[in-house]
């Protein structure tokens, strides 16, 4: 019975031969774990999608402020720039011309835009019936040159207003009212010519539904005093400018990060609920993996009994089942990410445009990483019980029964 290590024939081994037994077993049995991978992957995909939608809903309120190029926002004391809760309003800054000229006069300030929002009534050539409601257009009057603040303007077509009789329409408004460049829009008794389709960033998530005109023209139409809703400031050194503006009058001055923090705080309950949902989903997925692996171990008792009988160490058997749990978790994690990205494409491509919103799904690699890490951890925990079960198979009993 020679077992000389020189083989009589040259062996051609499959690539898996070089892998340790637990890994080889995992590769060989991947089909058997496919159902678990898909089930857990769907759970993870849903969880990730919920988080991405949650992120997008926060971004919806705040994302525009981060990219607008303005790094300070001033409102009157007690005002709230982002209306998250009922009753939230920025209030009005009085003596606006004076405030704006003082801010513009500060060193390190590139530009300060006074922003004022008012509803104007649209008038059409056709005679309006007595019972028909007035058609109101939310109009934003802008004092200053947004072109001096990088990224403050997002123009789809045409240009920004230069004259008092010009108007820019948000993309949703333009689509909804079927108005394009060159069309005339009559508001509160005056004709305005549409010169651009686009919007000013950093004035709220519905800014695509607004019309934009020169501040003085709006004041004239709205018949209001020297007030603005808030001031957007593009500053070179915001940390230096912020306290100076605050000291000017009774103003609150926010940086974009403060606005994000406020929005996240207001959204915290929703976020917490989504995390609870995710943890529950992951726990159920973990129980599912435990149950399926335990069944698999029960079905393979003879295999484990044989391994024990021929002297294979318990840790190898433990790793064999543990590796299967790990494989399920890793593949389910990748599947979950792909599924969530597919949901994201669908949500942003089909659902978001229906509501006139750019994005309802915002990918966050960090959150996805946390979910995958949790899934891996949970997979390992889920594999513990079946793995221990496999090491405790009694070869004497099982081999006798076989």
């Amino acid at each position: 019975m020679s077992d000389n290590t020189e083989p009589a024939t040259r062996l051609i081994l499959p690539w898996t031969s070089t892998l340790p037994y637990p890994v080889r077993n995992m590769v060989r049995r991947w089909r058997g774990t496919l159902g678990m991978m898909i089930g857990v992957g769907i759970a993870l995909g849903l969880g990730m999608t919920f988080l991405a939608v949650n992120k997008a809903s926060t971004d919806l309120f705040t994302g525009d402020y981060l990219v607008s190029g303005a790094n300070l926002y001033a409102v009157t004391e007690g005002g709230t720039l982002i209306a998250l809760l009922p009753g939230d309003t920025p209030g009005t800054i009085t003596h606006a011309r004076n405030v704006l000229s003082q801010i513009r006069g500060m060193s390190d300030v590139n530009e300060a835009l006074g922003v004022f929002t008012w509803s104007l009534e649209r008038e059409q050539d056709s005679v309006r019936r007595g019972f028909a409601p007035a058609e109101l257009i939310v109009t934003v009057g802008v004092d200053g040159n947004p072109g001096l603040i990088p990224n403050a303007l997002l123009m789809k077509e045409g240009r920004w207003v230069r004259r008092p009789n010009e108007i820019v329409l948000g993309t949703s408004l333009s689509r909804e009212k079927d108005l394009g460049i060159g069309d005339i829009l009559r508001l509160n008794g005056r004709d305005f010519i549409v010169v651009g389709i686009g919007r000013l960033r950093g004035i709220g998530y519905t800014s695509n539904s607004f019309a934009y005109m020169d501040y003085r023209a709006l004041r004239q139409r709205a018949d209001v005093g020297d007030v603005v809703s808030f001031v957007m400031v593009g500053a070179r050194r915001p940390e230096v400018v912020q306290p100076r503006i605050k000291a000017l009058a009774s103003l609150e001055v926010f940086r974009p990060e403060d606005l994000v923090a406020q929005a996240e705080q207001a959204n915290a309950t929703g976020a917490a609920l989504r995390w609870i949902f995710n943890i529950l989903t992951l726990s159920i997925a973990g129980l599912f993996v435990t149950n399926m692996l335990a069944r698999s171990v029960a079905e393979r008792r003879l295999e484990f009994a044989t391994l024990r009988a021929i002297g294979i160490p318990q840790r190898t058997i433990f790793m064999t089942v543990g590796a299967e749990a790990l494989l399920v978790s890793v593949v389910a994690g990748v599947f979950g990410v792909l599924l969530s990205l597919a949901f994201g494409l669908l949500i942003n491509g089909v659902v978001a445009p229906e509501y006139g919103i750019e994005s309802l799904y915002s990918l966050d690699a960090g959150l996805f990483g946390i979910i995958i890490a949790l899934a891996l951890g949970l997979g390992l925990v889920a594999g513990l019980f079946p793995a221990r079960q496999a090491t405790r198979v009694d070869p004497v009993i099982i081999l006798r029964e076989a």
Binding site: M1, E6, L11, S17, R28, L302, I310, G311, T316, L399
Partner: protein, 223 residues
């Protein structure tokens, strides 16, 4: 030298106590070929499992080279089974989703033998048992006799000192049976200890020493 000293094995089934082994004392010397015979249910397999460190005695001691192995923990006993003992089972117990070569190489992998050496050694063992052309076959693609030869090759892979075979020919036809007996004799000739549990007179005849077991008690037969 493997010694069983006043070994009892009692199973509890419900409220009933079944004495599978009763006060068995037995010494198995190095290089012996022993056949354990006896009727079904007499305790042959239980004796083999206790001597082969698969099971523990309810009472009494088992010593291997003077060391009491009945008190070792599961991992220490598995280590001894891997390196010192080879098992051949009546129903082969090969791993169905592995090839013949992988089945034989598995104990070598557990013993830490490198990839090339382990597969070379496994291939040579399979060639020795006449299965050099069946290396990549899975157990389901082999006949009963061929499977048992793979099992013998697996039992020999870590060059164990003792081979325990539990009814190794119980599921085989006469030609395969003779072949398996010849392999066991060949293993014995190389200086290894072979202990076979069998019902079969032809298999028992190949052994030097015969031990009969009846109702859990051992009786040495004159060879």
């Amino acid at each position: 030298m493997l010694k069983l000293d006043h070994v009892w094995r009692v199973y509890t089934v419900g409220e009933e106590q079944i004495e599978a082994l009763r006060d068995v004392t037995l010494a198995i010397g190095d290089g012996e070929f022993i056949a354990i015979v006896g009727p079904s249910g007499s305790g042959k397999s239980t004796l083999l499992q206790i001597a082969g460190l698969l099971d523990r005695p309810t009472q009494g001691t088992v010593t291997l080279d003077g060391q009491d192995v009945s008190t070792l923990d599961d991992e220490q006993r598995a280590h001894l089974r891997l390196h010192t003992i080879g098992f051949v089972f009546q129903r082969f117990h090969l791993l169905g989703d592995m090839t013949a070569l992988e089945n034989v190489a598995l104990p070598l992998e557990a013993a830490g033998v490198g990839v090339r050496d382990r597969f070379a050694r496994a291939a040579n063992l399979l060639e020795t048992v006449g299965l050099g052309d069946r290396l990549a076959f899975r157990p389901a693609q082999l006949s009963g006799g061929q499977r048992q030869r793979v099992a013998i090759a697996r039992a020999l892979s870590n060059r164990p000192r003792i081979i325990f075979a539990d009814e190794p020919t119980g599921e085989l036809h006469s030609e395969d049976k003779l072949r398996v007996v010849a392999f066991l004799q060949s293993v014995h000739r190389e200086g290894r200890t072979v202990v076979v549990v069998t019902h079969d007179a032809e298999v028992a005849a190949a052994a030097q020493r015969h031990i009969e077991i009846r109702d859990g008690r051992v009786k040495e037969l004159v060879s």
